[in-house]
């Protein structure tokens, strides 16, 4: 069930996903999701208490596209970049061509002036569809360990 090829396919998807964000290729970001996807950034505190509202929610790829458009065209924030570290990717379950995977992540934020700080840690809880040329996220839950966000959250995690 947890074959090596699947493990590496999932790890590669995650590697491509974080590169897309860290190298500021946000326009490609929605393309990592299925059209009918679910993406949410939520603090563990809310997630464990079954409270629905977190920091960002989308239930369509179009909403992710709107996020990118807003960041590029509408929202104002001091220039910044992320650096993701992802580790300990675990395949938890598999149904047909959909795999459930969990990974630990850490995001460091680097401001334009060089100020660098640990920005967020947590885990990805992903539903990944393996059919098709490249694997896609049908669901991506970004469960942050802390409810705190330093200053603001603009780019996706």
């Amino acid at each position: 069930m947890f074959d090596i090829a699947t493990q590496l396919a999932v790890e590669r998807l995650l590697a491509r996903y974080v590169r897309c964000i860290d190298e500021d290729l946000l326009e490609e970001w929605p393309g990592f999701f299925t059209a009918e996807c679910r993406y949410q950034i939520i603090a563990r505190e809310n997630y464990e208490r079954n409270l629905p509202i977190g920091v960002f929610f989308a239930n369509s790829r179009a909403m992710l596209q709107d996020r990118v458009t807003a960041l590029r065209q509408a929202n104002v924030y001091v220039a910044q970049r992320y650096r993701h570290l992802v580790s300990s990717t675990l395949l938890l379950d598999r149904r047909d061509d959909t795999v459930t995977a969990q990974s630990n992540f850490q995001v460091t934020r680097i401001m334009q002036d060089g100020a660098t700080a640990l920005f967020s840690t947590g885990r990805y809880l992903d539903q990944i569809v393996l059919a098709g040329p490249e694997p896609l996220f049908a669901e991506k839950l970004v469960i942050c360990d802390s409810r705190r966000i330093d200053t603001l959250l603009a780019m996706p995690l």
Binding site: V55, A74, V76, V78, D150
Partner: protein
């Protein structure tokens, strides 16, 4: 009492000295005169301590406080500092029980802050223990007067603070009740650490002027205009305010189109407009209501996204902003989904709020070397009064007027 030796500019509330954001002694005085003074602070939502015996650790300014619902249902609050040697009595975020014990030596309190048990008070095997004349009653925790309005629990340390209704005035109270007409439930919490003085965030909240200029989401996607109908309400003290508008009733405006630079981009449309689908749940067409209560509490309605914001100072240049989203106990699935999607508009990463997290730090960084320089707050005139326009900074002048009164500046 320390003298701040701070001369307010003769222009009055249209000038605010930048040193108010950078001085440790000012910060300490604010704790004493404002947060522990004759003001009402948000403690929690009743929904968070719904059951008898529920309690929460919260803050009044940066002072740790416990707020609780006693077994008989009455609300109470007292300082979260042990009578013995000063440890936080409650180091947990929340709990339930008839008693709270400090972990250090298990001194135990009831939910009114009465000291009910002192281990080994009478010694062990006849040795040690507290002196004969030690009375637990002498060590009751300093309690706060508590009042609840429409499910929001407020507390004050000062005896001289007027009743909450008097403090708020009828208009503000009515606007609070408007968005809390029936039992609520908490839908989520998040917080922001703002690298700036707490008053810079309060200024931002009370500032209708920046809305369409800083937040261009609505204009970029052609949803809103500053010229939407609405207005500003300010109470007599100046400390509280309401800013509201009706998005539907948008009209073009020459002044507007000339004015704004950044929000004039055109041609963008939401790929998924479902985020804007809303309901006129209060039946008055008001789609946005921002309400602030002096010194540091905000109630907000943006369409169907409802939340309260608690502002917790963490030092002269750090502030925690805590967002608590709520809905109503009887929410149906459709409105639940609307609240969830519209929550993307606000919070630490909200489409029309994320900028607010940054501007405070731009000011905090901008005032280095400002010396005795001060802000210029003249948009909409030089007094503070309710107005029909959002092209005003009237609520800021109101805030600074109330601030000066409490700080005796």
């Amino acid at each position: 009492m320390r003298d701040l030796n701070l001369a307010w500019p003769i222009e009055g509330v249209t000038r605010v000295p930048y040193e108010l954001y950078a001085r440790e002694d000012v910060y300490a005085e604010e704790r004493r005169r404002i947060f522990m003074g004759a003001t009402w602070s948000f403690l929690c939502l009743e929904a968070e301590i719904a059951a008898p015996g529920d309690y929460r650790a919260t803050f009044v300014g940066d002072v740790p406080v416990i707020v609780a619902r006693d077994l008989d249902g009455t609300l109470s609050a007292f300082e979260n500092r042990c009578a013995h040697r000063g440890a936080l009595i409650c180091h947990k975020d929340r709990g339930n029980g008839a008693r709270i014990s400090c972990v250090y030596h298990s001194w135990t309190y009831d939910l009114r802050g009465n000291l009910t048990a002192v281990p080994f008070q009478h010694g062990v095997n006849g040795k040690g223990g507290m002196p004969e004349d030690f009375r637990r009653e002498d060590h009751k925790r300093r309690s706060l007067r508590v009042e609840s309005l429409a499910g929001i629990v407020f507390g004050t340390f000062a005896a001289e603070t007027p009743p909450l209704a008097t403090y708020l005035g009828p208009e503000i109270a009515a606007r609070v009740k408007r968005v809390l007409p029936r039992p609520i439930k908490v839908l989520g919490t998040s917080s922001q650490i703002l690298p700036n003085n707490w008053k810079l965030y309060i200024e931002n909240v009370k500032d209708p002027y920046h809305a369409s200029l800083l937040h261009t989401f609505f204009t970029t996607f052609r949803v809103n205009r500053l010229s939407a109908r609405g207005g500003i309400v300010i109470d007599d003290s100046g400390g509280h305010h309401v800013s509201f508008s009706m998005m539907a009733t948008d009209r073009a405006s020459a002044d507007y189109d000339q004015a704004d630079i950044r929000s004039r981009q055109e041609g963008f449309r939401l790929a998924d407009p479902s985020i804007l689908a809303g309901r006129d749940e209060f039946g008055d067409g008001i789609t946005l209501q921002i309400l602030s209560i002096f010194p540091s509490f905000i109630v907000q309605q943006i369409q169907n996204c409802l939340c309260v914001r608690q502002v917790v100072p963490r030092g002269i240049a750090e502030t925690e902003l805590i967002w608590t989203y709520y809905g109503f106990a009887d929410d149906d699935a459709e409105i639940a989904s609307m609240r969830l999607k519209q929550s993307n508009l606000v919070g630490p990463g909200g489409y029309v709020s994320m900028e607010d997290g940054a501007v405070g730090s731009l000011v905090q960084r901008g005032i280095v070397g400002a010396g005795r320089d001060s802000e210029v707050i003249e948009m909409g005139g030089r007094e503070f009064k309710s107005q029909e326009t959002r092209a005003t900074e009237s609520p800021l002048r109101g805030f600074w007027s109330a601030y000066r009164t409490h700080m005796r500046l």
